[in-house]
Symmetry: C2
Subunit: 207 residues, 2 copies
């Protein structure tokens, strides 16, 4: 019964668990306070640990931010995969699921957008973050190209079709989160589907 006499002031965690805890705390701080407010002390306090742990587990605060970028991107990818898998086997349904998943939680939330904007704000200043963006963006487009091909978009039009769809979805996602009252999630989905109609219509395959 001496366990309760003096409760432990902190608990040990496995390195991977603690790393994940710090990454999630970093994402929350980025969402709440932006890149400017993502200090080591703020992140550590959010995670309920001491500031020293950040440098202990990551290569400084920059390394933690980069790791958070990769982790959040992985969450987005997983959410997209789940949405596509839940859409069944119909090619058009899978395409629509992939596109409209960006407007629903956990992707289409102000918190995730704020996190993402914080990453974008680092692209200019940091080459490694820029490379990370290029890689993730290319992967997103490649997956979209596959879904578009399954819907009959010809090979020659595939690249621009994926780029324009990505641009429209990103733009809708952006404004939906920045100005939530301007239009609804349903309207965003309708606009995206209308664009897919135009893209996949066989009579207008080019451009």
């Amino acid at each position: 019964m001496q366990v309760n006499a003096s409760s432990p002031s902190f608990r040990r965690a496995e390195p991977d668990a603690r790393r994940l805890s710090l990454i999630e705390a970093c994402a929350r701080v980025l969402a709440r306070a932006g890149a400017t407010g993502a200090s080591v002390r703020a992140i550590a306090q959010e995670a309920g640990v001491s500031p020293g742990l950040v440098s202990h587990y990551f290569d400084g605060v920059d390394g933690l931010v980069a790791a958070t970028y990769a982790h959040v991107d992985g969450q987005v990818s997983d959410a997209l995969d789940t949405a596509v898998a839940a859409a069944g086997d119909d090619a058009r349904a899978r395409l629509e699921a992939f596109v409209t998943a960006s407007f629903a939680a956990p992707i289409g939330t102000p918190a995730l957008l704020a996190t993402w904007i914080a990453f974008w704000s680092l692209v200019t200043a940091r080459g490694d973050i820029a490379a990370q963006h290029d890689e993730q963006y290319a992967g997103y487009r490649a997956r979209l190209e596959g879904l578009l091909a399954d819907c009959g978009v010809p090979q020659g039009a595939l690249r621009l079709a994926a780029i324009s769809t990505t641009a429209l979805v990103d733009g809708l996602w952006l404004e939906l989160c920045l100005s939530p009252g301007c239009f609804t999630v349903a309207e965003a989905g309708a606009m995206a589907r209308r664009h897919l109609d135009a893209i996949t219509s066989p009579d207008r395959g080019s451009g």
Copy 2:
């Protein structure tokens, strides 16, 4: 001839001129170093003045950033106005000019995007910046609605047509600046025009 004996260590400027100089320096620093690197000292050095001037002319560094936001938005508006005016009287030409102007200088440049991203990163944390964004975004959409109406888009479809066009243009602009090698300005224009075709075609006016 004593003027050259001791050259003045600094020059006085009219308040408005100095204010503009600081705003432009702030925009350059935001573009180069992001929101994280936009410190008073960095901005003052960029403007070639002493750090104390920032607090002297603006309500702290936050006030300078807000003023820079308004100024850069004004530049974008002017560039759009110029493009539309240069397009002549044809409604479709004016609409295309408005839309594709976002892909050319001075709008479609990594520097301006970096500045804009720095503003977005402040939307979350600061209510006045968020209000500024809403106002500017609404103004942009209102102007686009007018151009779309001139092209025969029916009243009922006007709102979503403007929103989707804005989203597509913003998304193209975003990725064009973040990953310049991915697609060209000409391709961005082609995709935008294709979207305008779909939006303005009378047989598919709704959605």
